[in-house]
């Protein structure tokens, strides 16, 4: 039902803006791509260890800044983004090792991640300063392509963010549903005690998931730092956006994160274009509508309440 209402809204607006609809659609998908990169890691961690990782935004910022420094050193975007993702994967693993000490205790865990988020934001400010900056896109993705029917162009890099998110989604799906590690991860999410009894080192699995989530956030930071910019406060902004996506999609569901990222991204883009003043209201309104119809999110299920 939410989908129908949303679809109706989109169609109506598309008619109204005519040839701009393609542009707005692409804007929405770009935002969705970035949101998905963030939300997939977030939701993965939550699904497995039931930790609301509020430091996820900090990982985004540090990943972006690390990539920025590396790009200035090496001049290569891919190396910079890759190593940045490796760095945040490491950082995320360290965060897990600390979290493990209070594992199973929800509130202290969340507070701990909040503290980590503040430390990360401050480190970013101390090391990279308050002046905003951005990465240069790789040479092949620089520039823009023509959009038919208007003077507007579309930057190639934004399109590749969508591609990057789809690739990441595909890899995650293959990993989770086509590999042994994936089935172990899913099994641990369902019942980690049982998996542990079967002789599998569950903590290693948790560690891997945290590293993956960190890498995804770092990659998102490099992507966002390229087509948007890196600045103080970006960590909170992106965390809030990905939290909306995760909650709308259903906590713990990768598929839900993908669908919700597209829905939220599109709604936001259309709202900003046509009702700029109310865009925040409309975005949150969508979340409320989704939760009213499906209290556990689009793909969330009651089974999380087992116990």
């Amino acid at each position: 039902m939410a989908g129908v209402a949303l679809g109706g809204y989109i169609v109506e607006r598309s008619l109204e803006i005519g040839d701009r609809s393609l542009l707005v659609l692409l804007n929405g998908l770009t935002a969705a791509g970035l949101y998905f990169l963030m939300a997939s890691g977030f939701t993965l961690v939550f699904g497995l260890v039931r930790v609301t990782n509020l430091a996820h935004g900090g990982l985004y910022l540090l990943g972006g800044y690390t990539a920025l420094s590396l790009q200035r050193m090496t001049g290569n975007w891919f190396i910079a983004a890759g190593l940045g993702a490796v760095a945040t994967a490491g950082l995320s693993t360290v965060l897990y090792l600390v979290l493990r000490r209070v594992h199973g205790d929800g509130l202290p865990e969340t507070m701990l991640t909040l503290g980590a988020a503040i430390v990360m934001a401050d480190q970013a400010l101390a090391n990279w300063g308050g002046v905003p900056s951005d990465l240069d896109p790789p040479a092949a993705l620089r520039g823009s392509i023509d959009l038919p029917g208007s003077i507007l162009l579309y930057p190639k890099f934004r399109l590749s963010v969508v591609a990057m998110a789809m690739l990441a989604g595909l890899c995650l799906w293959l990993l989770l549903y086509r590999t042994r590690l994936g089935s172990t991860i899913r099994a641990s999410a369902d019942d980690s005690d049982m998996v542990s009894i079967l002789g599998i080192r569950v903590e290693l699995v948790f560690c891997t998931v945290f590293a993956m989530a960190g890498a995804l956030a770092g990659l998102a930071g490099a992507a966002g730092g390229t087509y948007l910019s890196l600045a103080q406060g970006e960590d909170n902004r992106i965390l809030l956006a990905s939290l909306i996506v995760v909650i709308a999609g259903g906590l713990g569901s990768i598929g839900g994160a993908a669908v919700a990222a597209v829905v939220i991204g599109l709604v936001e883009a259309f709202a900003q274009t046509h009702h700029a003043i109310f865009s925040v209201l409309i975005t949150f309104g969508t979340l409320i509508a989704i939760l009213a119809l499906r209290p556990h999110g689009i793909f969330g299920s009651q089974q999380d309440d087992r116990a």
């Binding site: 039931r50 503040i118 101390a126 700029a276 925040v280």
Partner: protein, 492 residues
């Protein structure tokens, strides 16, 4: 290991987390305000310097400026290390323990404008150094000691805000009520200025000399007798652009893109007032939330058939907007900039995309004024690598105006600072950016410059002499049209 109750509590947890993040992001400036240490450093400072100012909170600094210090510093004064300005004699300094005068400086040392806060404090410190002070250290919150005017020692207290009015008022309250600041220099941003005007009105013996707050109504409507502004406001900074766009560039129909709060309203209002009076029209006024990252949806709203796009934004927003506008349109429709969007403080980050942008504003790099060149040299001497921009120049002019007035009254702040405030209102001197005098509302009448970004610097197109607060329009009519807003002026 997961305890069995965890499954049920996840919903509560998620809700809690959402609330926490919401709060953190709505007031995301607040979260940085909790952590002053990092934000206080100049951008270039090595990370290792963090420890030096880690504890410089209000509580620490308020212990220092006590009466006991006065004796020591007044002894120094006999060495004749007074200002190079010469000025008045020592006859005011006969008492053994002269009560020092405390100057409180406030700027945005945390949050999104932290870098601009650094620039402002450079300006304040330069002025005090001219009066015999020495820098305590390189960090932004390190004060200046040893300065004195007419034999009266001057203490400097530094406070930071995060560009939000309530934090600015709180910081000023600390300076005035705990540190005993007699003169407050600042603040940086528009809405902060309006909030401080209301606060300082309740403390008539304290004098507020504005830094760079460019809100029109700091002085234009309902002025407070102890608030002084030695620079332009947002509308004055944008003076001449509308006329130039119509007459010289031949634009007839424009769109505007600006942040959604009072200061950009003033800029857009000033441009449209001139542009529409000549017969130009505005096709679309697009207002974007402050701190927007992704401008794609707003760029999409710009009509294809306008002659130019006027944009008014600051700092990060300007950098993001220009970059994305460039990527989306290749600047097919020319941009005209607001004053802060192409201020010298962000030109570097804007890079080649800013080349050729026309704007109006208070500071140009080629004015040829001897005072400007001297200032630029002096700034680079004390803070190597720094170049003049609106923030360091304006804070310098504000502080120096106050010090000059203090000197004229021999440091006498008795009778609720009456003599000092009268002298301050009479200040008339040639600043690094041209002559300044104050009108009856204690608002400066100053030169503005129509300028174009050329080779990464601001080159003068035309000097606009002695711009006043009503942009040369009839004062009563101008005030009667009301504060600029989203749809005022109507420009039908």
């Amino acid at each position: 290991m997961r305890n069995l109750g965890a499954g049920r509590s996840w919903r509560i947890l998620a809700a809690l987390a959402a609330v926490v993040v919401l709060a953190a992001s709505c007031g995301d400036d607040d979260s940085t305000a909790d952590t002053p240490s990092a934000g206080t450093e100049p951008v270039e400072a090595p990370a290792g310097a963090t420890d030096t100012d880690g504890g410089t909170d209000a509580d620490d600094s308020m212990e220092e400026p006590s009466a006991g210090d006065a004796e020591a510093s007044s002894d120094d004064s006999s060495d004749g290390s007074a200002s190079d300005e010469g000025g008045s004699s020592d006859d005011a300094g006969t008492a053994e323990a002269i009560e020092p005068i405390t100057i409180g400086a406030i700027s945005t040392l945390d949050g999104p404008f932290a870098a601009l806060g650094d620039f402002s404090m450079h300006g304040v410190k330069l002025a005090l150094l001219e009066y015999g002070g020495t820098l305590d250290g390189d960090a932004t919150r390190d004060t200046v000691t040893g300065a004195e005017v007419a034999g009266v020692p001057i203490e400097l207290v530094i406070e930071g805000s995060d560009a939000t009015p309530d934090v600015a008022v709180e910081a000023t309250r600390r300076m005035v009520e705990q540190d005993g600041a007699n003169i407050v220099i600042g603040p940086l941003s528009g809405d902060e200025g309006l909030a401080l005007k209301d606060y300082i009105r309740e403390h008539p013996d304290v004098t507020l000399v504005n830094g760079t707050s460019a809100s029109q109504d700091l002085t234009l409507r309902d002025p407070s007798p102890n608030v002084f502004r030695f620079g332009g406001d947002g509308a004055m900074w944008t003076f001449g652009v509308g006329t130039y766009a119509y007459e010289e560039l031949g634009h007839r129909r424009i769109a505007t893109v600006a942040e959604d709060y009072s200061y950009p309203y003033d800029q857009v209002g000033a441009v449209l007032t001139e542009f529409c009076a000549l017969g130009g029209t505005v096709a679309e006024r697009i207002w974007v939330p402050l701190g927007t990252q992704d401008y794609s949806s707003f760029v999409a709203q710009i009509p294809d058939d306008v002659d130019a796009v006027f944009f008014a934004m600051g700092g990060t927003d300007a950098i993001n907007f220009v970059k994305q506008y460039d990527e989306f349109t290749g600047q097919a429709i020319p941009l005209i900039a607001g004053p802060t969007a192409v201020d010298q403080s962000v030109l570097n980050e804007l890079g080649s995309r800013a080349e050729g942008l026309v704007s109006s504003g208070p500071v140009v790099d080629d004015s040829g004024l001897a005072e400007f060149d001297t200032f630029a040299e002096y700034l680079d001497d004390v803070f190597p690598g720094q170049t003049p921009n609106t923030f360091n120049v304006y804070y310098y002019v504000a502080t120096k105006s106050a010090l000059q007035a203090l000197e004229e009254v021999g440091g006498d702040l008795s009778d609720g600072s009456a003599a000092f405030q009268a002298a301050l209102a009479q200040q008339s001197w040639t600043t690094p950016i041209g002559p300044v005098v104050l009108d009856d509302n204690r608002q400066a009448v100053v030169d503005m410059y129509l300028r174009r970004v050329t080779d990464g610097a601001q080159a003068t197109i035309e000097t606009l002499p002695l711009v006043n607060a009503t942009l040369g329009f009839d004062r009563d009519a101008y005030i009667a049209q009301g504060s600029f807003s989203r749809d005022n002026p109507s420009c039908g």
